[in-house]
């Protein structure tokens, strides 16, 4: 199986390079045979990489410790699920995953566009094949997961207990689908620049694929936050760590693109801007992969010191020079068809939205690379911590929420007073009212007041949109539920977008509440003693120690009361893993969490001694669950947007039909 894997990697590299040249020739000469052959090449690469990935999974499952990758990432006592997820626990496996996911995307692009865009597609495929070739080269020749050890050890080093969490099975995968997904819109942009076909086709395709990648990135970020919250045991979910920032930056610029692309589609404006955004987004995705893989920026996640750094830097340099070079060559074809009429217009709301998203991405980028820059300039390594990121990003975030309420409702070109009154009067009143009421209730944190007020404002604008739309339909005799369903299904992009905005609002509410109003208490308790935090009382009942197949567990049992009413038992643990291997850590703190939409009771067993005394850290984090709920709503909204509508399917059928006719026509000639 291992040989199969190596051979498949080698072959896929050869075919990927062939695909690159065949599609370039196909694009240049307009000869279908070359393009067809290139398309088959892309499919072959997908099949070969699937087999290679399969053989790595096989090696992990059969515990083939003769492989370096297997022996350094798993051990015999590891459950099956985590043996599979060890696929992406190490460097070589992660790179293989990158290449494999890219081949999946490439195959999809080929299959979905077989009979469309005959002039654009060869160049799109060439771009995808070029990027594929780079990654396959890395896995096949620089960091191969199929590297053998001189002799096989009896057992492996094992997987870090912190990674033995169900979220680790899904979070990296989702994030990678996001990172790699950004490649597809980039390839369409490059295809457009290379072929000179800078019309609607590429921008439509780029938008569709960006929504997909953006959704994966966003969900991946949230899953990562959830993992950190459950597993790292410090009570928070986001720390502005370089690894987190790495995924957050392309998400920011992709969000900017998803908005500005509407202006290009509707008004033919911002063409250069959109092109630049796609290139920047892809650059940030590569940069993110680079900093998480090369160890150039130190992080609490410790990185591999590996030799892929220089490869990556050269590749990123090449991509930047090539793409901006092509961009400059085609500049005159990217002229705007319209201009800005008024600062009070939808165009300018979108423009400001974009500027701020870009500014946020830039500030995060600067903060992330600050140690490198300061060392280069001043010879001293200077860090900027979470306070920097919060100070810069919170104000920008608040303005973005405001724009989220204004942008979708303000009129194109120039908003009249009538338009402003009709759409924004009630939401503004509601927003201000919310802030005032919260102030009277006793909330004094300015940021929280503004944030909640803005959230109420945006929520009201969205509600009015749904309400008006449904009412119009209902007047024509549909019942309200059906009217709502038709409203959404006939305007998927618009109303799906609103649903995404609702998700974002929920997330913002959760973040605001949980960062402004945390209560924290520490206590050392003997059996039977209690601690009260806010409205919760916790009684320490007993300390249990027992042994399972994998670990020695020390579990503290606490009864929770909410002013005398019993809420049940929670059990924070400290575990020591039996098999030490050579994994970095063998002990693990398991947080106990009791979660409601009002607040999370988060209990950590920090220490204990032989006579049954134990110390705890208790946190009350308000409204954290809103973040996860918001993530689900956001994903639903994204699905509504991406769901192919009946009209699109019809259009595609027509295109396909006409292409078939014209092909038959040319064949006869």
């Amino acid at each position: 199986m291992v040989e199969t894997g190596s051979i498949c990697l080698f072959l896929s590299f050869v075919i990927s390079v062939y695909t690159l040249f065949a599609s370039l020739v196909g694009g240049k000469t307009r000869k279908r045979e070359f393009t067809n052959s290139a398309e088959n090449g892309a499919l072959a690469v997908f099949i070969l990489l699937t087999i290679a990935s399969g053989s790595l999974i096989h090696a992990l499952l059969t515990r083939d410790f003769s492989l370096k990758y297997v022996s350094s990432n798993i051990s015999r006592d590891l459950p099956t699920l985590y043996s599979i997820t060890a696929f992406w626990a190490g460097q070589a496996g992660s790179l293989l995953l990158w290449a494999w996911i890219l081949s999946i995307y490439t195959a999809l692009v080929v299959l979905l566009n077989r009979r469309k865009s005959r002039e654009l597609m060869p160049y799109v495929l060439a771009s995808l094949a070029a990027i594929s070739s780079f990654f396959i080269y890395l896995v096949a020749f620089v960091e191969s997961p199929f590297e053998k050890l001189p002799f096989a050890p009896d057992d492996g080093r094992g997987l870090n207990p912190l990674l033995q969490n169900p979220y680790m099975a899904i979070h990296p995968l989702t994030l990678y689908f996001g990172y790699v997904g950004v490649t597809v819109p980039f390839a369409f942009a490059m295809g457009a620049l290379l072929s000179g076909r800078l019309g609607d086709e590429w921008i439509r395709n780029s938008r569709k694929w960006t929504i997909l990648a953006w959704t994966f990135l966003g969900i991946g970020l949230l899953l990562g936050a959830r993992w950190a919250y459950l597993e790292l045991g410090w009570g928070g979910y986001w720390a502005w760590d370089p690894v987190e920032n790495a995924a957050f930056m392309p998400w920011l610029t992709a969000t900017a693109f998803l908005h500005s692309v509407m202006i290009q589609e509707k008004k033919g404006m911002l063409k250069k801007w959109n092109m630049a955004l796609i290139i920047i987004t892809f650059f940030l995705a590569l940069f993110g992969t680079f900093i998480t893989r090369s160890g150039i920026i130190s992080s609490v996640h410790s990185f591999a010191q590996s030799n892929i750094g220089p490869f990556f830097l050269s590749f990123i340099g090449f991509i930047l020079i090539f793409s901006f070079g092509m961009f400059t060559l085609r500049l005159d074809q990217l002229k705007s068809e319209n201009r800005y009429d008024s600062i009070l217009s939808r165009e300018s709301a979108f423009l400001f939205n974009n500027l701020i998203f870009l500014a946020a991405a830039f500030s995060v980028f600067l903060g992330t690379i600050f140690p490198i820059v300061s060392e280069a300039i001043k010879g001293e390594k200077i860090l900027v911590g979470p306070p920097y990121f919060n100070r810069v990003n919170v104000p920008m975030g608040l303005i973005l929420i405001l724009l989220m309420g204004i942008g979708p409702l303000i009129s194109w070109r120039k908003a009249s007073q009538e338009n402003l009154m009709k759409n924004f009067l009630y939401p503004s009143i509601l927003g201000i009212l919310t802030a005032v009421v919260l102030f009277l209730v006793g909330i004094r944190e300015a940021v929280a007041l503004i944030s909640f007020g803005l959230c109420a404002f945006v929520a009201a604008t969205i509600f009015i949109e749904f309400y008006r739309g449904t009412k119009v339909r209902a007047k024509r005799g549909e019942n309200y539920l059906l009217a709502l369903y038709h409203l959404i299904s006939r305007n998927r992009r618009r109303y799906g977008g609103y649903i995404v905005h609702v998700g974002v609002i929920l997330i913002v509410i959760g973040i605001t509440a949980s960062s402004a109003f945390v209560t924290q208490k520490e206590a050392t308790l003997k059996k039977g003693e209690s601690i009260s935090v806010n409205h919760y009382t916790l009684r320490f009942d007993e300390l249990n120690q027992y042994t399972t197949e994998m670990k020695h567990v020390t579990a503290a049992k606490l009864s929770v009361f909410n002013s005398e009413r019993s809420l049940g038992v929670i059990v924070p643990e400290k575990n020591v893993y039996k098999y030490e291997g050579n994994r970095d850590i063998d002990n693990e703190t398991e947080v106990a969490l009791r979660s409601t939409f009002k607040d999370d009771l988060y209990v950590i067993l920090t220490n204990f001694d032989g006579n049954g005394t134990a110390s705890f850290r208790v946190l009350i984090n308000p409204m954290v669950s809103w973040i996860w709920a918001g993530g689900i709503v956001l994903a639903l909204g994204a699905i509504v947007i991406m769901w192919p509508s009946a009209r699109e399917r019809r259009e595609e059928a027509v295109v396909r039909y006409s292409v078939e006719i014209s092909e038959e026509g040319t064949a006869k000639v």
Partner: protein, 137 residues
């Protein structure tokens, strides 16, 4: 139209200036020198007034922990070492011999009062190699 254009330019300039202001202020108020143990010692006495972050290897056998969560240990760069005091959340990865990062202040009593304790950890993609790591931090 030209008046409209000026409005746009003013608005964009306002955003740029605000960003510059936020970034500048943010960096100025939150920056932390990232030092090795040796560099920390070189900066005595000016270092007493600064907020700094120091990384080093936890000296095996130096960790003392009481039930209330007060933690004392030493970190070293292989040559010199400093005493660290800390109370707070201890990362699971923290133990003898790991690479630890502490943030706080170095007091004239030559004790490092740490507010933040980090240890190099989880998504560790490859086996740690202390020899290499020193260069990267």
């Amino acid at each position: 139209m030209s008046r409209g254009k000026i409005k746009f330019i003013i608005a964009i300039a306002a955003i740029a200036l605000t960003l510059a202001y936020l970034v500048y202020g943010g960096v100025k108020d939150t920056m932390v020198y990232y030092l090795t143990v040796e560099e920390l010692k070189e900066r005595i006495p000016s270092v007493y007034k600064e907020k700094v972050r120091v990384s080093g290897t936890v000296v095996p056998g130096s960790i003392k922990k009481d039930i209330d969560g007060n933690l004392e240990f030493k970190i070293t760069d292989g040559d010199q070492s400093i005493d660290v005091r800390y109370k707070g959340i201890i990362p699971d990865v923290f133990r003898d011999g790991v690479q630890a990062v502490v943030e706080g202040t170095y007091t004239p009593e030559n004790v490092f009062q740490a507010k933040i304790l980090l240890a190099k950890c989880p998504t560790k993609y490859e086996p740690a190699n202390p020899a290499n790591k020193k260069e990267s931090t």
